[in-house]
């Protein structure tokens, strides 16, 4: 009888040790929205993606949105950022609030003179690393045509270790139609930079397939 009791105690203790509370797989998403030139006309699509993200992310996940303008390595370009609360009710309230800020940005957005995509990605990587989430995503809603202000230095390796960079809605420019190699080179160039930084690269142009956007 004593042996039985001892066995039961040992099994229970082992079970409790094995079942220690674990941190779940959290996601952190940083979405960059290009506001240069004619790309502001695509903002309704960015809004759609933002809504999808708000619907997909759960308690404990982080979401931030920032615009890409002339000098994007700055906190002032962040439209909104949030880490959803552990309580579902509060997380829903945060989502409502986030949506209001996104809507406000889309309705008041003004085109920027230059496009500092690298600076924006650096800012995003910094934010994502601070969140300490298990899965980190940078969504770049842009044509990926960088147009830096004279004097800005961005030709260095970006720290993107364990970050998945997804280019969304990469539109073809007028020049791409003349020589499609420009478009392909642009994509190749960004892919190379992301891999050099230790990240993963993916391009999603069909916005009807957003359901697989955050699949790891």
């Amino acid at each position: 009888m004593k042996i039985h009791k001892l066995l039961v105690t040992v099994i229970l203790c082992a079970g409790l040790i094995a079942c220690g509370e674990k941190a779940p797989k959290t996601k952190a998403v940083y979405m960059l929205i290009d506001t240069s030139g004619t790309y502001t006309r695509e903002l309704d699509k960015a809004q759609k993606i933002g809504n999808y993200l708000l619907g997909s992310l759960n308690s404990g996940d982080s979401l931030a949105m920032a615009r890409i303008d002339s000098g994007s390595f700055s906190e002032k370009d962040i439209i909104s950022k949030v880490t959803f609360d552990m309580r579902p009710s509060l997380a829903t309230t945060q989502k409502h609030q986030f949506k209001r800020q996104l809507d406000k940005f889309v309705s008041n957005a003004k085109p920027s003179a230059h496009t500092d995509i690298s600076g924006a990605v650096l800012q995003a990587a910094e934010f994502l690393n601070e969140t300490q989430a298990q899965e980190k995503y940078i969504l770049i809603f842009s044509d990926l045509e960088e147009d830096l202000v004279k004097g800005q230095i961005r030709d260095f390796t970006m720290p993107l270790v364990q970050i998945k960079v997804i280019a969304l809605n990469v539109t073809k420019l007028r020049s791409d139609n003349i020589d499609p190699r420009d478009y392909l080179n642009r994509l190749d160039n960004w892919e190379k930079r992301v891999y050099e930084g230790g990240g993963l690269w993916k391009v999603v142009n069909d916005l009807d397939r957003l359901d697989k956007l955050l699949d790891s």
Partner: protein, 486 residues
């Protein structure tokens, strides 16, 4: 050394080398024929013996298990019958205490009522009015001839009037007397009814007792048969146990579905309490917390029914003194009610969260939030379900007890069947091994048919020279060289 090298050991010509190998092998097999036959036969016999022994052990085990199962079934049946008889005696006791304890009083009542009825009956006896004594004299006078005498006529007229007057008075007196007797009879009516009711209640009690006694007789008969280890009763009990197993299993499946619905009701709102992200062992803490609440409810239900002595899973609770048991009933019922209230509030919170999510989804989809009518109906429905389900789940203890008791029998029967099949398989395999050994010996001889034929020819020719029967020699040769056939 590779296989190819071994094959071409004797010659580079593969065919020639193989031929040499074959000759060598056949020669070796021919020379070792007797020993090989004996070895194969011995191996086959050993295997058969081992498997037969295994089969015998399994059969013995199966018989022991069948016997044990029968004991378990009979024991369970005996306990069940004892409980049934005990319960019937308790009922009989209750009937005797309730109805028959009042028998002396009832008897007194009946005697009183009968006495009263008798006296009333005496009082109501009809006494016909006696005719006046002077009626004969009057009759004689009335027969006298009038003769036209007016005086006589007047006298007779007077007599007639007197007679009529006397008659009317007599009738009046008779009617009054009848009315009085009727009143007495009316007074008897409640006494009759009372008597009838008393007798009916006594009759009902006696009939009830009689029915109970018939049932007790049946149970006692069954009990005696169980004590005698009657095969028929054992089979009936086993069959009943199987039925119990399936019925209780079905109810448990239904209860499990009820538990799942309950879980769905409270899992989402639980994340408001314990957080929606943390996990324990790969499971969401909120889900585990919801499951734990349901389990606690089931446990409380078990303790409650145990305290009420409806189930008998925990002897320690059944053997508690009544005061302690009543306390336990109170405590478990209170905890169950609190948990049910918590569940009802969680169900309401779930509804609020669902509404909130719905509003967010509509907002994200760009649709205007609609105002749904009668939204309060599902809210109240969920709350009611949240409150009722814990109490419904509490009753799972009853089928659980039946299931556990029936499981012993069912597991025993299934295990005995499996052991029986294993025993048969072992016996069958042993026989197959034995036959395989015999076939192997024949195949062995087929492989060395050439030297065997040569040997046969040599022996035949030798026998021909000596004038003996060559077949007889062959038989002897087979017996000595070929070894004993298994």
């Amino acid at each position: 050394m590779s296989i190819s090298e071994i094959i071409t050991l004797w010659s580079d010509n593969r065919g020639l080398s193989l031929l040499i190998w074959t000759v060598l092998l056949v020669t070796a097999m021919y020379l070792a024929r007797s020993s090989a036959h004996q070895s194969i036969a011995a191996a086959a016999r050993s295997l058969r013996a081992a498997l037969r022994m295994t089969a015998a052990s399994l059969v013995a085990l199966e018989q022991r298990m069948v016997k044990r199962n029968q004991q378990v079934i009979l024991q369970a049946g005996q306990e069940s019958t004892e409980r049934a008889i005990e319960r019937e005696f308790q009922r009989v006791n209750a009937i005797v205490e309730r109805d028959l304890s009042g028998y002396p009083a009832a008897q007194r009542t009946i005697t009183d009522l009968i006495g009263r009825i008798e006296s009333d009956y005496q009082a109501s006896n009809e006494t016909p009015p006696s005719p006046p004594e002077w009626l004969a004299a009057v009759d004689t006078i009335s027969r006298i001839e009038k003769g036209g005498d007016s005086t006589v006529s007047q006298v007779l007229q007077s007599i007639q009037e007197t007679i009529e007057s006397a008659h009317e008075e007599t009738v009046k007196a008779y009617r009054k007397s009848s009315l009085d007797r009727l009143q007495v009879l009316k007074k008897m009516l409640p006494s009759w009814r009372g008597l009838s009711q008393t007798v009916a209640s006594m009759s009902s009690a006696v009939t009830d007792l009689s029915e109970r006694s018939v049932f007790i007789d049946k149970q006692m008969d069954k009990y005696e048969r169980i004590r005698r280890k009657d095969e028929q009763v054992a089979r009936a009990l086993a069959s009943s146990s199987l039925t119990q197993f399936f019925v209780a299993g079905l109810v448990l499946v239904i209860a499990t579905f009820g538990g799942l619905i309950n879980y769905q009701l409270i899992a989402l709102p639980m994340s408001e309490m314990v957080g929606g992200v943390s996990e324990i062992g790969g499971w969401r803490t909120a889900d585990i917390a919801a499951m734990v609440i349901i389990m606690v409810e089931v446990a409380m239900g078990l303790f409650l029914l145990e305290s009420l002595r409806i189930t008998h899973l925990f002897p320690i609770i059944s053997s508690m003194d009544d005061k302690m048991r009543k306390r336990m009933v109170f405590v478990t019922l209170t905890i169950l009610t609190i948990l049910a209230t918590v569940e009802a509030s969680l169900a309401y919170m779930r509804d609020l969260l669902a509404l909130d999510r719905e509003a967010l989804a509509q907002s994200l989809a760009g649709a205007a939030a609609g105002n749904v009518e009668f939204r309060w109906i599902p809210s109240i429905g969920q709350m009611v379900m949240g409150f009722i389900l814990p109490f419904a789940l509490a009753f799972v203890a009853i089928p659980l007890e039946s299931f556990i008791h029936a499981s012993r029998t069912v597991i025993g029967l299934v295990t005995a069947s499996v052991v029986r099949v294993l025993a048969y398989a072992a016996k069958m395999t042993g026989q197959m091994m034995y036959q395989a050994g015999r076939i192997t010996i024949h195949v062995y001889d087929m492989a060395i048919f050439l030297p065997l034929s040569v040997e046969h020819l040599v022996r035949n020719s030798k026998a021909a020279h000596e004038g003996d029967d060559p077949d007889g020699i062959n038989v002897t040769h087979d017996e000595t060289v070929g070894g004993t056939k298994p």
